[in-house]
């Protein structure tokens, strides 16, 4: 599972990065890598079976806190 995730990410890099380098889109490259890093961490955690807290529960708590 984890190897699949890594493979997918390598695939994404192989697709996007050469074009960005050729066009010298450095800023875009940085944003891309940053986002990809976030995505990578999240999906690796998910693949390893890390239990994330429920997102909508979090929003519920937040909304109730603000309204109070």
């Amino acid at each position: 599972m984890i190897s699949l995730v890594i493979l997918t990410f390598l695939g994404i890099i192989a697709i996007e990065v050469p074009g960005l380098i050729r066009k010298k889109y450095w800023k875009e490259l940085i944003v891309f890598l940053l986002l990809l890093f976030i995505a990578f961490i999240a999906s690796i955690l998910l693949a390893m079976g890390f239990e994330f807290p429920s997102l909508i529960k979090g929003i519920e708590i937040l909304i109730k806190y603000i309204l109070r």
Binding site: F9, Y25, L36, I38, A42, F52, P53, S54, L55, L67
Partner: protein, 365 residues
């Protein structure tokens, strides 16, 4: 700084919005409190939806050629504008993941043994392809898909005629006013209010005035949903309230001459194509908005990373489907309030009061 070179004509906007609005709504709407009056609640919510949409179009027409992210910065200044835009981007991201998850959940019911993630990945991949190709392609897909759906819609209606019992729509005074408006509010925030995303798409219209057509699209889509809700109630009656996916169950009933039986596959087709449209549009708005926020020269490299993030968020959105309906009814209208109406209204009022945009030489459209 031309992130998107495509242009879409006005009629395609109608298709886009129809697909966007009726996507989820054909399958699942938080109308449970309104019981047999779901259809009426939807009709009422159309009015709310029109109100919202007219605010969006007014704002869009005031700033032709500018997306929501750009309008934010224009009105609120670079710093505050960016923060507000960030909020919107989060909202789009969350919405896309929420819909993706909802979509996946539906298919885990049809395919109970297949893991959820498979549906999420397969779907987001096709959506990513569409987003990569730009708004023009999404709009063209919407023409074909929405035409197909409308055809299937009337087909459904036709084959269900036999099973309908209109008296199940009565009585009219069955629901308390509170519950009724709770339902119509929830419907509005789930289906019509989310058209805020089109603030990211209005600038790519051939003629910006045609943004007004979004109102027409909302009316048509709203009527379609309302009729489908009425149809479901007329077929299933009170039984509807126990089902997760009313339309799906309704079409399971079909039995025309022992041959056309179990047409729920039609619902799946509906849902796949509409879900694809809805997620693609949200996804596109998100990616484009991020690129505009960060002043990038292209949005293409952002597509896949965001795709992964949407998928992951989709998985961790909620544990069980039972969390979703109370969320859609109670929390979601509050959560979406600032994004769907609060901030747009504030922007519009500020723009009107301050007389923005000020006519300068550079700014002629």
């Amino acid at each position: 700084m031309n992130l998107e070179t495509g242009k879409i004509p006005g009629y395609q906007l109608i298709f886009l919005i129809m697909g966007f609005v009726s996507s989820l709504s054909m399958l699942f709407l938080p109308t449970q409190p309104a019981k047999n009056l779901a259809w009426l609640a939807i009709l009422v919510s159309i009015i709310e939806g029109l109100l919202f949409a007219s605010i969006y179009t007014a704002l869009a027409l005031r700033f032709p050629g500018k997306t929501l992210v750009e309008i934010n910065e224009f009105i609120l200044g670079p710093l505050v504008g960016k923060i507000v835009s960030l909020g919107f981007l989060w909202y789009f991201l969350h919405l896309a993941s929420l819909h993706l998850r909802n979509y996946g959940d539906f298919f885990t019911i049809v395919y109970p043994e297949t893991p959820l993630i498979v549906f999420l990945i397969a779907t987001i991949f096709v959506c990513a392809l569409a987003v990569k190709n730009g708004i023009e392609v999404i709009a063209r897909c919407s023409i074909l898909l929405v035409s197909l759906i409308i055809f299937l819609y009337f087909f459904d209606l036709f084959i269900l005629l036999k099973e309908m019992d209109l008296s199940k729509l009565l009585p009219l005074r069955n629901v308390s006013v509170q519950d009724f408006f709770k339902a119509s509010n929830a419907v509005n925030s789930v289906s019509f209010g989310e058209t805020i995303i089109f603030m990211m798409i209005f600038p790519f219209l051939n003629k910006y005035v045609e943004a007004r057509k979004s109102l027409l699209a909302i009316i048509i889509a709203g009527l379609l949903i309302a009729i489908s809700a009425a149809r479901n109630t007329a077929v299933m009656g009170d039984l509807l309230s126990i089902f997760q996916y009313p339309t799906y169950e309704t079409l399971k009933i079909v039995d025309v001459g022992d041959f056309l039986t179990r047409m729920e596959i039609v619902v799946s087709i509906n849902f796949i194509s509409m879900g694809f449209l809805k997620i693609s549009i949200l996804y596109y708005g998100l990616v484009l908005g991020t690129a505009q926020l960060l002043k990038l020269r292209t949005y293409h490299p952002l597509v896949f990373p965001f795709g992964v993030i949407i998928t992951v968020l989709g998985v961790i959105n909620y544990g069980a489907i039972s969390e979703l309906i109370p969320f859609a009814l109670e929390i979601y209208p509050l959560y979406s309030f600032p994004f769907e109406i609060g901030i747009p209204l504030f922007l519009l009022v500020t723009a009107v009061v301050r007389g923005l945009p000020k006519k300068t030489k550079g700014d002629q459209i």
